[in-house]
Subunit: 363 residues, 2 copies
DNA sequence: TTGTAAGCGTTATCAA
DNA sequence: TTGATAACGCTTACAA
């Protein structure tokens, strides 16, 4: 045993201990330490094992994931690209996905696009460069090429909420058609007859297209079956700065209702808030002058006016399932692309009660 | 020149091209390619440079950040640990930080604690294992040791919003004391006399402590100066499930006001919502029966009742500055720990208008 | 100005 | 069962 053997301290003080430090400390080879780490039970003398164990503890050693990734070609990293962290839906999904990843021993690398879809390619490239083993995408897919590249390079991809054109990948989403029917039927039952579907600019975003189409066909079907007395529906695309147009759309909606009750379905929380703002400007009362059901239930929904009726998405499950799909693929599952659609849940509150508004109800 | 030279294709098809592939393709050494990448202008013949450039383009080569990190000991990664992504404040900070990092060529690795402070150590370890060059922490600092370790290992740390006990690090935050005074003074001016400060359980969270302390000293000072007629103040810690206690606290607050106007300051958006919920249960009107000013301005603030008066934090700037501090340190800045405090901004809305509530005002 | 070779911290293949 | 040793993809002395 060489006399200059140093005890309980890495060669370069201050720096992280490496596998070589541990080997020296334990008086074994690097290979042995590595084996202890990866195949503990199978091929080690208990004597040596404990020596290594002690050394590891003494040096507070933990292996470098970077080096492991380099060697193994696998990183235990999953990339998540989100169009906009500001969107509560995205955040909720993020939470679910994170939980699932964590349980499976993966770390989530988040990339936020800040609603700038041009950065999508950049994000995917950065993430794949870091050897993420798979990607969860909640993005527009404008730059379909990059994602498709990743898929071709054997990296599994899961799409959440938004399909990408021409992209073969697992897809996890709300059952948009069903959710729209849920909301629209609720409005009709509550007595609202002249309907308006308010969406953000469709712009080829799949979820928006699906919701609008579902609304259209609901109206068509209702007319066919001659629902009492007559259901009519129009659609409107709302933008951030275009308040006047929205006000105007609501005014003419009410006019068309001719004393009957006008009802609005808003396609996400942001739009809901725009409609609410418009109502405030017009001086109309939620529920009384206009019925409103909005996609996405939020913590504040119960407290806007008489409470907002919403269609809640199972965000946590969506995130968990997205991560779950990915991990299954990473574990070798070889199936054609799956679609997983989850149902929404209607939470009825004051904004769809045509009688006098009351204090908020359900939470 | 050996005859078996292969053109325009990496050795192993399907896999990412490596520096060796590029070298082979260009007929130069790996070192030359590396030099092209890192010191393009200084030490290369333009002839060779273009050959390398062409090869890189042909193979769509981009260097592996993992390998670079391993070799250089630097990763161009910054770790961000957030106590809770659900908190809109955290998300807003995240956005600011991300922008700054991106501009400086860093990638943000996000770790969300899901409000489980026990995971903090784990998060920091995971992040440092991935060789992040610095850390931005928006956490409780319960596990102060781990963060301190990181700092000792030479990784700069920036704390946002929450100080860690015994931790020498840059600190970026709202000027809590000033913000509380802003809100409290506003309530008093608006005619509310009997004040209540509602916070989440203080639990040693620095920002909560600072806000409460500021409230206490505001009340004390006001009494000293004999503000008209008399200001009195109490504090209350609210929890998720403890609705009855909050209702009770508000009832007795109003009682103490003896026909005068009671006013509440809530210490963040979550608490604000709890107060709003309580008011709904009690059947009280915002502004009229009780004044309310809440920390954190949100998109929905204008639409709760007559509009919520809020104290807006400059979240974007907080995030940008936090990242900025870190990057300065990474660039070698050697200064004692700094504190950067930014002022809040009061947005007066209907919830602090003692007269009849009106339709929402400012946005 | 370019190439050779060593090494970053691992794991895997071979012998011993 | 354990130990050399050669990669993984990159950077950087040092030579040429």
């Amino acid at each position: 045993m060489p006399s200059q053997k140093i005890k309980s301290s890495p060669a370069r003080p201050g720096a992280r201990a490496t596998i070589a430090d541990v080997a020296r400390e334990a008086g074994v080879s690097k290979a042995t330490v590595s084996r202890f780490l990866n195949h503990r039970e199978t091929l080690l003398t208990s004597d040596i094992a404990t020596r290594v164990e002690v050394a590891i503890a003494a040096l507070a050693y933990s292996p470098s994931p970077m080096a492991q990734a380099l060697k193994r070609g696998r990183s235990r990293l999953i990339g998540l690209v989100v169009a906009d962290v500001t969107n509560p839906f995205s955040v909720a999904v993020l939470r679910g996905a994170e939980k699932a990843c964590q349980q499976a021993g993966y770390l989530l690398m988040l990339f936020n696009l800040g609603n700038d879809s041009r950065r999508e390619g950049e994000a995917i490239k950065a993430l794949t460069a870091y050897q993420v083993e798979g990607l969860i995408l909640n993005t527009l897919g404008r730059d379909a090429g990059t994602a498709a590249d990743a898929a071709r390079h054997g990296k599994p991809v899961v799409l959440v909420d938004r399909r990408h054109h021409d992209m073969q990948a697992d897809f996890v989403s709300l059952d948009n058609a069903g959710a729209v029917r849920l909301g629209a039927a609720h409005l009709v039952e509550a007595g609202y007859r002249e309907l308006l579907f308010v969406s953000e600019p469709i712009k080829n975003v799949s979820s928006r297209m699906e919701r609008e189409a579902a609304f259209r066909s609901f109206v068509a079907d209702a007319s066919d079956q001659g629902m009492p007395p007559v259901i009519r529906g129009t659609t409107f695309e709302s933008t951030e700065d275009d308040r006047d147009r929205l006000d105007q759309a609501l005014r003419s909606l009410r006019q068309r209702a001719q004393g009957g009750l006008p009802g609005v379905i808003s396609s996400n929380a942001v739009v809901t808030l725009r409609v609410v703002a418009s109502l405030a400007r017009l001086g109309w009362r939620l529920g009384v002058d206009l019925g409103l059901v909005g996609f996405d239930d939020t913590e504040w929904s119960p407290y806007i006016g008489p409470g907002l009726t919403t269609i809640a998405q199972p965000t946590d499950d969506l995130g968990r399932l997205a991560a779950g799909c990915l991990i299954e693929r990473l574990n070798g599952l070889d199936l054609p692309p799956r679609q997983i659609l989850l149902s929404g849940r209607l939470l009825a509150r004051g904004s769809t009660v045509a009688t006098a508004p009351s204090i908020s109800s359900s939470t």
